[in-house]
């Protein structure tokens, strides 16, 4: 496929890896923010192509992983009610809440459905006027405009049986939280290419000024990631800290203005609790008061319970790049995609699931990296 195959070219990838090796004079710790990038790194073994001094740690950019336990529990509670159909993206169904998950709600007779696009949720609402359709909407800035459009269309149509349980999160405040932590080890970031496709990359100028850390907006194919790593290493070796854009075929500085417009029309910035990380100021998006009729959080009164994670799960440290999945005693033993203890083992973008899928045999043989 055009714009995919050529960015998987092994020869170009090897050329980039060799160039990285030539430029590196000392160790550097780099983080890819987005879970999609983590998946590519593991799938194509890119971390294994890098010189020994370059360590990749994996970021919190997996919306399924960082949606708070309380929000999952709220979705489970809403889905268990009669006459409610809860729809969401596939991975959300398997994420463990504090007691159960949405798949079990469905197995026990709840109407829980998977959609690929928010517009499908609207179609289900139109076809089932006797039921209330709740779209459990998670995602970063990439997904928020599409979800906003669903709410905007629902209001324009006057749909009475559609609402959204919104739990959107924002990347720059999470990076600020990581960089502010005294335990931070990250010296350079691969920026999230699709988040920046929507939002542009002017938001990162402040982070660079404040923390003097290079950020290279990167794509999602192996050649994209290797080129982004090369650009980061070049900056670090030269003592520069700038925002650069590797993913030029999709990202421009100001981003996608029509998408930003609908996002701002429907959502407003709010404080948000991240699973595994905790509360981060101004790091989420909530539905604006003008659209309250479509806000499941306002329509369905649920009890706010504080929920506890499995004590054995180290996903909090994995999501902050402090530990690797293989550092966990439960990894691939008591925690598997079929029986996950924590959310990063569920989503295909979760670091634990990526290591499980592509690395668990190597880990078993060589004791990990």
């Amino acid at each position: 496929m055009k714009y995919i195959d050529e960015y998987r070219d092994g020869q170009i990838a090897r050329g980039l890896a060799a160039e990285i090796a030539r430029r590196v004079t000392r160790p550097w710790v780099l983080m890819e923010i987005c879970g999609g990038q983590t998946h590519t790194l593991m799938r194509f073994g890119i971390d294994e192509m890098l010189p020994a001094g370059i360590e990749m740690v994996h970021g919190p950019g997996c919306p399924v992983c960082v949606t708070s336990l309380e929000t999952i529990d709220k979705a489970i509670e809403i889905a268990s009610r009669p006459n409610v159909t809860l729809v969401s993206y596939g991975d959300m169904l398997r994420v463990p809440g504090s007691r159960t998950d949405l798949f079990h709600v469905r197995a026990n007779g709840g109407d829980v459905r998977i959609v690929y696009s928010p517009t499908e949720a609207l179609k289900i609402a139109r076809a089932n006027p006797e039921r209330h359709i709740v779209f459990f909407a998670v995602g970063f800035e990439t997904t928020a405009p599409a979800n906003a459009m669903a709410v905007w269309l629902a209001r324009r149509e006057g749909l009475k049986n559609f609402s959204m349980l919104a739990s959107h999160v924002l990347v720059p405040p999470a990076m600020r939280a990581l960089l502010s932590s005294p335990r931070n080890r990250v010296q350079g970031f691969i920026g999230p290419g699709h988040v920046c496709t929507v939002m542009g990359y002017h938001e990162y100028d402040d982070l660079i000024r404040e923390f003097r850390v290079p950020i290279v907006v990167g794509g999602f194919e192996p050649v994209d990631l290797l080129e982004a790593i090369l650009m980061l290493v070049t900056q670090l070796e030269q003592g520069r800290a700038e925002v650069e854009n590797q993913y030029v075929r999709s990202v421009c500085y100001e981003g996608n203005l029509p998408a930003q417009k609908i996002l701002a029309e429907v959502f407003e910035v709010c404080d948000r609790k991240w699973r595994g990380i905790g509360g981060i100021p101004e790091s989420g998006l909530n539905i604006r008061a003008e659209y309250a009729d479509f806000d499941a959080d306002k329509i369905f009164q649920t009890e706010n319970v504080t929920a506890e994670e499995s004590p054995e799960c180290i996903s909090a440290e994995v999501l902050q790049g402090l530990k690797k999945p293989v550092d966990c005693a439960a990894f691939a033993v008591r925690c598997t995609p079929e029986n996950p203890l924590g959310a990063p083992m569920v989503s295909s973008e979760g670091a634990c699931a990526a290591y499980y899928r592509y690395r668990r045999h190597a880990v078993a043989e060589h004791g990990g990296r």
Partner: protein
């Protein structure tokens, strides 16, 4: 979750004020909202996420950056796999 893939616009029409098209990804086509990419036309490639095109692939930027990459890969081939010159 932020997975988005490039596809080629086959059709583009107005549906109740919303721009909708068929977009081809390899062997399959999907109905896609084109409202966020008013500049994209039939024949253009767009990056699609959850049924919404979020950017038009800039063919000139893609070509330029790819030629640069290709030249690095070719250089590597000319030098052979083990080029430890340090």
């Amino acid at each position: 979750m932020c997975l988005a893939i490039p596809g080629k616009i086959l059709t583009a029409e107005d549906h109740n004020g919303i721009r909708i098209g068929r977009v081809q990804f390899g062997g399959i086509t999907r109905e896609t909202c084109l409202d966020f990419v008013p500049e994209a036309e039939v024949g253009d490639y767009v990056i699609v996420h959850v049924g919404f095109a979020i950017s038009r692939v800039d063919p000139e930027e893609a070509q330029k950056s790819y030629e640069l990459l290709e030249s690095m890969g070719l250089l590597q081939e000319e030098l052979g796999p083990e080029t430890d010159i340090s």
